[in-house]
């Protein structure tokens, strides 16, 4: 068997497992086993894909033997492989966490199949080399996320879902419009082929217009300023496991799409597009963190921080130097791990403390020191305290900023780091340090939380490991950044010929 098929496995495995668990809709234990084992297999295949990509470089799979640019291709370059591994890891952890926290009612509604479908959509988006196929995978993951978002059917969820659905459908329509215009201009949908043909076009103004349309569409998905309003309205409403995987993955898909499109296709007019990206990134950082400062509900604080962290990733792309891209990729990995971990911890805080509201919480440090550590580590990592992963991610980005001389952006990035620390200390003080307020919120009956502790613990260890072993991660990100900055390699791998 040819190893090319590795590229398709991260899409096919969750699809197949999801379909199987859909047929076993009424068999709860089978669904749980499939959830845990299926995501574990997915994780193994993702690791294998990354290792293989490291060894042999960019891999291309021509689906159905139709040669590019006529058929759909799946492409695994370093960035794609990293993202797939990230998605699979979070999928596995979330599935473990769900085993203990998702009620039978939601399982009957199809929680596990939806989770697998979401993972298939996310991995598909990371691996496809065809712009319309990217749209299809976006819709797959959107439909899965719509259904996951409203599991539970509470009022807040419905209100959040309407905003989420509307703005995401709007973004999809803009994306489709941009695809249509691109197709009208160059007559192809293969991303590598588009890159070649757009570069040889005379009317570069139209290219910039289309690029801006893609920018708006993906910026909505990534929740960037000024298009992020759907995120704080919806991310704190669903089940905690769902929030965690959304915060860890969904906005990253938007960021990934920005990285892909603005390094491969729209690189002609970087003076305009990347300047816009830079200011979007800066304001995203600032508005997100200021929004978080005003909140007193843990999940809302975390949602706003998600927005602010997206700004750093966009900054990495906007500065557009090798070091900045390395920092951006590092940041994506770091943030997914940390933010999922924090959301999962917030679920455990609710289970042990009885509330998400900071005012009603207190004294958790005395009662549950283990939980306190599990919160403390990713919280400091998010703020960028050495030697955790967040420090290196921020450090690389800021160093890249210094090299370019983009002082405004650096200043704001540092300020946002401080404000993030403020928010995290706020949660720490209120929920863990201060005395338990009277009257105590009703605490649910104590249950065995071993698996929950384990799943959060894995993520906490991961963020420490990413900090302590930053060098290997840096090297992998370096390879990814080199590939992004030199699209000719990607184009040659897909089309089998050098670009003009």
């Amino acid at each position: 068997m040819d190893l090319e098929v590795l590229v398709a496995l991260p899409i096919i495995i969750p699809l197949l497992i999801g379909a199987l668990s859909l047929t076993l809709l009424n068999n709860h234990s089978a669904q749980r086993w499939l959830g845990a084992i299926g995501t574990a297999i997915l994780l193994i295949s993702a690791v294998w894909l990354l290792v293989h990509t490291l060894e042999v470089g960019i891999q291309v799979l021509e689906v159905g033997s139709w040669p590019a640019p006529f058929g759909i291709v799946l492409v695994a370059d370093m960035l794609g492989a990293i993202m797939v591994l990230l998605a699979s890891t979070l999928g596995f952890i979330t599935a473990l966490y769900s085993l203990k926290t998702i009620r039978k009612r939601f399982e009957r509604f199809g929680y596990y199949p939806l989770l697998h479908l979401l993972l298939a959509g996310v991995n598909g988006a990371f691996l496809t080399g065809d712009i319309f196929n990217l749209y299809v995978w976006f819709e797959v993951l959107l439909v899965a996320s719509f259904a996951l978002l409203i599991l539970g059917g509470e009022r807040a969820q419905m209100e959040g879902a309407i905003k989420y659905v509307t703005l995401n459908l709007l973004s999809s329509a803009l994306f489709l419009t941009a695809i249509g215009l691109t197709y009208g201009l160059v007559g192809t949908l293969n991303m590598a082929d588009i890159a070649v043909k757009l570069a040889s076009l005379e009317d570069q103004k139209m290219v910039t217009v289309i690029g801006s349309l893609f920018l708006i569409a993906f910026a909505i998905k990534a929740a960037a300023f000024p298009l992020f309003f759907w995120l704080p309205a919806s991310y704190h409403t669903p089940q905690v496991a769902v929030s965690a995987i959304f915060a860890g993955l969904l906005t990253k898909v938007g960021v990934y799409a920005l990285y892909r499109v603005f390094t491969l296709i729209f690189t002609a007019d970087t003076g305009f597009t990347h300047e816009v990206l830079l200011w979007m990134g800066v304001f995203t950082m600032l508005t997100g963190v200021l929004g978080a400062a005003a909140q007193f509900e843990i999940r809302r604080i975390l949602s706003f921080h998600s927005i602010s962290q997206i700004g750093y990733m966009m900054l990495g792309l906007a500065l557009f130097t090798p070091l900045a891209l390395i920092g951006g990729i590092f940041y994506i990995v770091h943030h997914s791990v940390v933010k999922s971990s924090l959301f999962l911890t917030s679920g455990l805080i609710y289970r042990l403390g009885g509330s998400f509201e900071l005012k009603k919480l207190g004294g958790l440090y005395r009662k549950h020191p283990g939980l306190a550590i599990l919160f403390f580590v990713p919280a400091l990592s998010l703020a960028g305290v050495p030697p955790l992963s967040g420090f290196f991610a921020k450090f690389i980005l800021i160093k890249a900023g210094v090299e370019v001389g983009s002082w405004w952006a650096i200043g704001i990035a540092l300020l946002v780091g401080l404000l993030t620390l403020y928010s995290m200390i706020k949660i720490w003080n209120e929920a863990f340090w201060k005395a338990t307020p009277e009257p105590n919120p009703p605490v649910p009956a104590p249950t065995r939380n071993g698996l929950i502790y384990f799943s959060i613990g894995v993520l906490a260890v991961l963020t420490v490991a990413l900090g302590v072993f930053a060098q290997p991660m840096y090297q992998i990100a370096d390879i990814a950044a080199q590939q992004l900055l030199n699209p000719a390699v990607y184009i040659e791998a897909v089309l089998g010929r050098t670009s003009p």
């Binding site: 409203i150 309407i162 459908l169 695809i179 919806s234």
Partner: protein, 114 residues
């Protein structure tokens, strides 16, 4: 013809955005439907409107005879219609449920999460 289509598509987009800005949830859905149709029409138009024959290669031949319509644009539109159908079906169910839970169809009343 293309100019006419361009005006039509522009009207579609404008109408869609207008409907989405209304307060009623039902009009929001209508806006979304119009929006996806506008995008489909756009692809249809930019792919080139010509009087081509159907892009089917006759039995026993290797190439098509005469100018044919662009099959890729049709495939893309068909796919996006199917996707749009699925997503909108979901949106209708969602909005129906939401109206039941929230007891209103006025977007201004739905600000519990802001």
């Amino acid at each position: 013809m293309t100019t006419l289509m361009a005006i039509l598509i522009g009207t579609f987009y404008a109408a869609a955005i207008y409907m989405m800005l209304r307060r009623s949830v039902v009009k929001l859905v209508i806006g979304l439907i119009l929006l996806s149709n506008a995008a489909n029409l756009l692809i249809f138009t930019v792919a080139g409107i010509n009087r081509g024959i159907p892009p089917l290669i006759p039995e026993g031949q290797l190439v098509i005879d005469g100018p044919a319509a662009d099959p890729l644009a049709q495939a893309v539109i068909l796919t996006s219609i199917v996707i749009g159908f699925g997503v909108l079906a979901f949106a209708v169910v969602l909005i129906h449920r939401a109206c039941e839970v929230v007891q209103t169809d006025d977007m201004n009343e739905m600000k519990g999460t802001d």
